[in-house]
Every structure is written in C-alpha cells, then in structure tokens.
Subunit: 233 residues, 2 copies
DNA sequence: TCAAAAGTGTTGCTTGTACACCCATGT
DNA sequence: ACATGGGTGTACAAGCAACACTTTTGA
C-alpha cells in the first residue's frame, strides 16, 4: 500500500506524470469508419495530425469522465454522450514535452455524415480520416496510430457482440440504415433476414408510430432504440 | 491538441494527479474466488484492508505495465505473468493524501491454494478475502470495493467467453480440475460433456505425455495449455 | 409494368445443454 | 464386486447464415 510514511509529503514526494485525456471520435464518412483528427500548429509534431485531447485539470475535473467531457467541449465545442474509457497508456517517450506522459483514452461516436465539429480552443484544423488510411501509411503524432487501432478493434468487437452503434445513427432510423451502419463498421456484409430476426428476438428496437420515409419505391418503417428496462443482459 | 503554446512549461503548467497503480490479485480459496488484501498500518484508513498498490515512479517505470510489475515485485515479492489492465479511475476525493488521486488498476491470477505471497516493502499483513464477503458488508479503504467488484465482473466475463483462467491452475492439470476452477469462478455448475467437447473442438489443450494421477479410482489424464499458434481467434 | 428496396419464410449448420451411459481403478 | 470419479455418445434446442421468395411503392 502506498507510501503512508509521511502523510503530508506523500503526494509530492515523487514527480508525477504529465497526464492527458485523448479522445477517439468515430463516425462514418461515405460508408467508411473514420476518426476525427486535429492538426497540430506548434511543436512537437507541428503540422502533424493527432487525436484531439487535453491536459487533465485537477482543479476543474471531478473525475476522468468529466475530464473527457470537458476536453470534448473545449476542443470540439460539442457535448458527446456515451464516452467510453478505452485504456490508459504511459511511458517516458510518449510526449517530448514531458519526462513521462500518461494518457487516459476515451472513445465516442458521432452521427454519420454530420458536419465537422467546430474547432475549439487551440485547434488549428479538423478532419475526418478513414481508419483504413491510418492503418497503413499515414502516421500520426505521438503514439496515436496505436490508439486509433485499439479503438477500431474495440468498436468492431462491440458491434460483433451485438452492441449496436446507435451513436452513428439519428434518433429514428430504418432497419436497412442500421444494417448498413453495422456492415460499414465490421467491414463485411450481413444477411438481412438474420440481422432482422436478431433485432426482433431481442426486443432492441421499437417502431416509431406511423412514421415512414420514401424514395421511388416502398417506404421503410422507422424505428428507435427501445428503452432498456433495467435488464442485466 | 494539447497546450503546445509554451513548449518547456507544458508539463509543469498544471498540477498533476497523485498517480498510483493498484493490483487486484485473485485466486481460489476452498473453491471460492478471493482477492489479496493488504492491511494498512498508517493513516489514512489505518487498520483497514486495501488492495496492494504503489505510486507510479516515472524515474523507474518504462510503462504502466512495467510499473504494475514493479509494484507486485516490491509489495508481494513475486513476479506475476499476465497482468491485465482493468481500468483507470480518478477524482479529487479518492485519496485523502492528495488533492486528486488517479489509479491505474491491474488484475492478475495466482495459483489456487498457493501460499500467501510474502509481505514486501511497507506491507503489514496480507490476507485472501472471498469476493463474496466484500460484495456485501466488509468495506475496504479508498474506493477499493468498487475496484474489486469490477475485477470480479471482468474475471467472470473472461471465463464466460471461454478465456480459461490458466493462472489459477498449475502447468499440468486434469480436465476436472479445470472445470471445477471455472465453476468456482462463475459460481454455477457446468456440464461435463459440453465442457469437454468445447475444449476439444477448440484445440485449447494438449495431453501431457503419459502422465496421470491417482486416488482410490481411475486416474485422470493430465493436460497442459496448447501453445497458441499465431491464431487470431 | 417495371425497377428497387422493404420485408418474410425455409433450410441446414453450428454451438451448447441435458442426460444417460460405459470405463478404469484401488479397496 | 463395487464405489468412485474419468471419460464418451445421443438427443434436443437456440442461434445464425444462406438464399429464395413476396410485397409495396413511384415513375
């Protein structure tokens, strides 16, 4: 247990890591999974693209989740629900600005096809980049390529185990839209019949009263996420 | 991105959290899942039980994983393989010694029925406590009850999705031992035939050449974990 | 009436559970 | 021989993939 020897000096006895929050925000762009990147204006890595993030502010943040929410608000001028902690990474060479860099990484989803968030405090430029392009080739600042890869894996695992990416869809959506969204995330096609029966069997959705939508063909029923009623699994 | 305005002062501009590693070490005691607790000698929470842990030392640790390994070595005088990161938690009221406490929590397994690790640096006394007893009633120092609960959940999820708890077993074990171990973790019985067919179908194990073991009845074949050959899933 | 997308039914495979049964061994 | 735990086979149900099919609409 801790170093409880000298109660007052405990928290200042050792130098602490430069602690940041990083955010992997994902969306679909033209049916491809993409992450939000911010371009760095200053050194280190000036001109390079990196994940949006910010320093943990112990004077402002009541928890890591609050810190992540604040970072999103300050950098992207928006509020994101369902921020999920991905992992924590740390080491002496992660950030040239400090002798030891620690990042707590969060991930979140943004409505597919939505406009780019407004660049907030200290952000030069924002851009959606397909995860594909990051996996091979394009290199990000710091160890952010690794973080994006881990977030992508986590995202796919979620969908594979039927944790649907509602964050990518509007409140009301058609079953085909939902299926196409899942297919885009997973990177392969799904069977329509199986997909729908799964949804049906699990009571995940409910039809939105009377609403539909049209093209030059039969309109589709709109659905919304069903309120999860205290279930455990 | 970050505060890249004043390159040199970045890492010292804001006070950083008191950053620690905590370890949830689990084993089976008489067929019950138990966690290793250490008794606190000094304030805060003097006399209370808590998870073993230690301060992150940026002068010693090359990564969070190394930090966790070091903490285990110093506190428990042992080396543990397969330390898994569980989560990071932080907040201003987590640790009375500091204005803001951040902990990166790792979990690991210890051979069932093994002796208590030797109490290392600054450890007063060690004890295995059934997770059952912690879930209801017994309260630990800091927010460690929460952390144990999360580790227990993660442990059960692992086994449910067929990630076998080899860490609880010796290198060579019988199928019945393995099954009983899984049953103890999950808290309910499993079907012998199903359990074995699953293992068989997935080529997870291999028999250990010619070895067996006896009681007053038919001896059982010993098995070991099969070397995973680069497979993805 | 035709194209296009919505929506349904049927079959078969795979996985897992329940349960019954045989096998080997020391006393 | 028999009790005890090791080990196996069969039957049934659930979940999912593949694929064929019907329905509804606007042009």
């Amino acid at each position: 247990m801790a170093d409880a020897a000298s109660p007052k000096t405990d928290s200042s006895k050792y130098p602490m890591p430069f602690t940041r929050i990083e955010v992997v925000l994902m969306t679909l762009v033209d049916g491809n999974l993409a992450v939000l990147l911010a371009r760095r204006a200053q050194a280190p890595y000036a001109g390079k693209w990196a994940l949006p993030g910010g320093v943990l502010r112990i004077d402002l943040d009541g928890s890591l989740e609050e810190a992540a929410a604040r970072v999103v608000r300050e950098r992207l001028a928006t509020d994101l629900p369902d921020l999920k902690q991905l992992c924590a990474v740390g080491g002496p060479t992660r950030d040239p600005r400090a002798p030891w860099g620690l990042s707590i990484v969060y991930r979140a989803l943004s409505l597919s096809g939505s406009t780019l968030p407004t660049a907030g405090k200290r952000i030069e430029e924002l851009r959606w980049a397909p995860v594909e392009s990051l996996a091979k080739g394009i290199s990000l600042a710091f160890d952010h390529n690794t973080l994006v890869a881990r977030a992508t894996d986590a995202m796919r695992e979620d969908v594979e185990e039927h944790d649907l990416p509602y964050g990518l869809l509007p409140a009301h959506f058609t079953l085909t839209e939902l299926q196409q969204t899942c297919e885009a995330v997973l990177g392969h096609a799904l069977d329509k019949s199986s997909f729908r029966r799964r949804l049906n069997d699990r009571d995940l959705l409910e039809p939105v009263d009377g609403e539909k939508r049209g093209g030059a063909f039969r309109p589709a029923q709109l659905y919304q996420r069903r309120a999860r009623l205290r279930s455990l699994r």
